[in-house]
């Protein structure tokens, strides 16, 4: 450590600007930290999309796209890790390095703080380091585990813990159990003093993509073929899906009944059924959720004939899809549900840490926006843990950018100086040394 400090002191001073990137499978969260000022993250689609007129949109160019029908995607990030670097480079170039880029920066005067998923493959991590230094030429760089960055936020504010205003905020937070439910998968990471406890990190391969595809399949079986309309199905999922607090009861309410029978709850919708108006790609480009009209098919058919709109009635699709997070075996996946995943992670740790972790469970990532998500998780955990344990589950105001906000706080924290690697060090010691340094992390001493 001492020699690296010396070489840094001898070389250039640490760059004043930091580009903080949370390079997710679906969206990039990007923004700059300069001194004490943070300009909030921009959420950029992290894919190349091609519409039915064979026009291709790269990253944030998707804003110009009007017609989302039959959109096809090419994603540089697979399973949370950057795999296809030619596509990723194109997106980064257009967003950050071109002359007209919306968030232009000069890498040779910028530090990069990049969030990655835990348990990456070493080959892919090395590729990432090589691209950052050899192709983009950042002056200084740190690649850290995304969930761990969340510890640099004011966690107790998320829980709304009652406290006096003069209480100092622990940065990084002492103990949290972070659940990151993103587009590719869901991970559980216990974090102590900003250091992830690697032996207890567990992953469930259920993420936003699987749920969207599952919704697409259900709709294709029951209504009409949506298999090429992933984007529209994804919008629909975000608009109508919710986590059921009483799965059996809700399923009962949405059943039509035996042959000839039409149950009361089915006819009235029981507050669960919703109508979803699909975009027609001429006048409307986004779907609209409507309250279910109990009038039955006849009145809606008459209306539809006039308005020529495609209406789907969604019943158990609304809660069966997010149910995959809590019981993946419903589609034959041999993995435990989210609550059992937490218990498996905890069982790798000494029991003395359980009370602290259970009382500080934070859920981030796009799926955390599903309503009732945290209530359901809390309910299921309470069934599994000892009676004395307090279980608190919370999500930040915007769970999607939470990791980015934590990483931005980290970029101002003194830890970043200890962890970041400069280009000179990379040129001198090579990619293997950098990978080892990042893997070793902060160490233990505070």
């Amino acid at each position: 450590m001492s020699s690296s400090r010396k070489s840094r002191a001898a070389g250039l001073p640490a760059p004043s600007t930091t580009l903080v990137l949370d390079n997710g499978a679906d969206t990039i969260k990007a923004g700059f930290v300069t001194g004490d000022t943070t300009d909030g993250p921009r959420v950029i689609p992290n894919y190349l999309a091609r519409d039915r007129h064979r026009k291709t949109y790269v990253g944030s160019e998707l804003e110009k796209c009007r017609d989302f029908g039959e959109l096809a995607f090419r994603r540089p990030v697979e399973k949370g890790f950057v795999v296809s670097w030619d596509a990723q480079k194109e997106i980064w170039d257009r967003e950050f390095f071109d002359d007209k880029a919306p968030q232009r920066c000069d890498p040779s005067e910028t530090r990069l703080v990049l969030a990655e998923q835990p348990n990456g493959l070493p080959a892919l991590q090395t590729h990432c380091d090589q691209m950052v230094f050899e192709e983009f030429g950042f002056a200084s760089y740190y690649r850290g585990i995304g969930p761990a960055f969340n510890a640099y936020q004011d966690i107790q504010a998320i829980f709304q813990t009652p406290r006096s205003p003069d209480t100092p905020v622990d940065v990084p937070a002492e103990v949290i159990l972070l659940i990151d439910s993103g587009y590719s998968h869901t991970t559980v990471t216990p974090i102590v003093q900003g250091r992830p406890l690697h032996q207890a990190i567990r992953r469930l391969d259920v993420g936003g993509r699987l749920m969207t595809n599952y919704l697409t399949r259900l709709l294709s079986v029951r209504h009409f073929d949506m298999r090429n309309e992933t984007f529209i199905a994804n919008e629909m999922k975000e608009a109508v899906c919710y986590v059921s607090l009483d799965f059996k009861g809700d399923l009962e309410k949405t059943w039509k009944g035996t042959r000839g029978e039409r149950r009361e709850d089915y006819l009235t919708g029981a507050g669960i059924a919703k109508d979803y108006v699909l975009p027609d790609s001429h006048t409307t480009f986004h779907g609209v959720v409507r309250e279910y009209e109990p009038g039955g098919d006849s009145s809606r058919a008459r209306k539809a004939a006039v308005a020529t709109e495609d209406v789907l009635t969604l019943r158990n699709e609304r809660f069966v899809v997010p149910e995959l997070l809590f019981s993946p075996s419903d589609i034959g996946m041999r993995q435990p549900g989210l609550a059992d995943l937490v218990m498996q992670s905890l069982s790798a740790l000494p029991i003395g840490l359980w009370p602290g972790l259970l009382a500080n469970i934070v859920v981030v990532g796009g799926n955390a926006r599903l309503s009732n998500f945290i209530q359901r998780l809390q309910m299921e955990l309470l069934e599994r843990v000892p009676d004395e344990c307090v279980v608190r589950v919370a999500r930040p105001e915007d769970p999607v950018v939470s990791t980015w906000l934590g990483a931005a706080k980290f970029a101002k924290h003194e830890h970043v100086e200890r962890l970041a690697v400069t280009k000179q060090e990379y040129d001198e010691h090579g990619a293997g040394w950098v990978a080892r340094k990042f893997a070793a992390g902060l160490g233990v001493d505070a």
Binding site: S3, V58, A72, F73, R74, E78, V83, K89, R94, D99, P118, N119, L121, P122, H127, Q130, M131, E134, V192, Q193, L197, H198, Q199, I201, R202, L204, R209, L210, N213, V221, R227, N228, T230, T254, K256, R315, V320, S329, D330, P336, D340, L341, Q344, S347, A348, L349, P350, I351, L353, E388, H429, G430, G432, A435, R436, K437, A439, G443, V444, A446
Partner: protein, 343 residues
């Protein structure tokens, strides 16, 4: 077509039976293994099936379904990178590494296979791997072993799982070091820095080794932390540098505090050494971190749903075994029931 009422069962264990059998192809098999030696009553020595075992056909179908659910596009889409708009940066020359990365057409699955192959190589030829990086693989081993020996592990199966995972992690760390060494050798200008390992590894205090030795020497001398001795020593107002005790004064005393019925049990808090070991343990590999079914999940049958409307799957189609909820959905299903074998 009727398959004569025979249902194939895929179980995790295989048994040599006379005649022929479907055998999961897990690798190059010895020819001797295909010829069973004991042909007597082989059929009834089959292991018992549990509720979660499925027939091979069902399993195949589920696997295909899951693969389809994991795709980005329904159809294969080859989206080329569009030409750059005017005003973009001039293309500069790439370094060899970058050119290799940019031209790589590998998918994540390819990378994962490569990684597994590398691990298998390290396993099949451990002597070479160990000799290559004896000095570097050493520090990761005690940290990986510490949590299972020192922590009060809650349940036996989880402890076994943890030890398996940590052993695998140590093995993998060795393989990783090896890969990095090879990479270093391949680099044009290998500049071994002044003990880079010493810099990268966090300073490891000496007393950690001492603690582990005492634990290993007399595992039976201190069986379980009894509440009146250990817990008193390790309860919350304690000396810990990593997680300091609550600094504020405790809440006001209550007359019921001494009541044995109301007293709450506080589990022994991990010592600083245990915490240190946990915080510096090496990361698990991608496959080790994937959660799998435990005993609890295996014991119960999975929920089944109607393939048509999504209600509980209470009835099976007599032709293909698909679950439906009632007659109305059964009729809807029968219209397109496909009974081709092996679908």
């Amino acid at each position: 077509m009727n398959n004569f009422g025979v249902i194939e069962i895929a179980s995790t264990t295989t048994k040599n039976t006379p005649g022929w059998a479907y055998v999961p192809d897990t690798g190059p098999a010895l020819p001797a293994a295909l010829q069973p030696t004991n042909r007597k009553r082989a059929a009834r020595n089959q292991p018992a099936l549990s509720l979660s075992d499925l027939s091979a056909r069902e399993e195949n179908k589920i696997r295909k379904d899951l693969e389809a659910l994991d795709r980005d596009n329904h159809r294969d889409a080859n989206i080329a990178i569009p030409p750059r708009p005017a005003g973009s940066k001039a293309q500069n020359k790439h370094t060899p590494n970058v050119r290799k990365i940019l031209q790589s057409q590998k998918t994540f699955a390819n990378h994962l296979d490569d990684y597994q192959a590398m691990l298998a190589l390290a396993e099949s030829n451990p002597a070479a791997a160990a000799a290559m990086n004896a000095a570097q693989a050493k520090p990761s081993t005690p940290t990986a072993a510490t949590p299972k020996s020192a922590s009060p592990a809650p349940a036996a199966p989880s402890a076994a799982g943890a030890s398996k995972r940590s052993a695998a992690a140590a093995k993998r760390a060795a393989a990783k070091e090896k890969q990095e060494q090879e990479k270093k050798k391949a680099r044009p200008t290998p500049k071994p820095g002044p003990e880079p390992e010493a810099e990268a590894e966090p300073p490891r205090p000496q007393e950690q080794d001492d603690v582990e030795m005492t634990d290993a020497n007399n595992p039976d001398a201190q069986p379980a932390p009894t509440p009146n001795t250990e817990a008193a020593l390790q309860s919350y107002p304690r000396e810990s540098l990593i997680l300091p005790a609550y600094a504020k004064p405790p809440p006001q005393a209550h007359p019921g505090d001494a009541d044995p019925l109301l007293a709450s049990y506080i589990p022994p808090f991990p010592t600083d050494d245990e915490l240190r070991a946990l915080m510096t343990a090496p990361p698990l590999s991608y496959l080790e971190a994937r959660a799998t079914w435990g005993e609890e999940e295996r014991r119960y049958p999975v929920r089944v749903f109607c393939a048509v409307c999504g209600y509980w799957g209470r009835v099976k189609c007599m032709k293909c075994g698909t679950r439906v909820c009632a007659l109305e959905c059964l009729e809807a299903h029968k219209e397109e029931c496909v009974t081709r074998y092996g679908l």
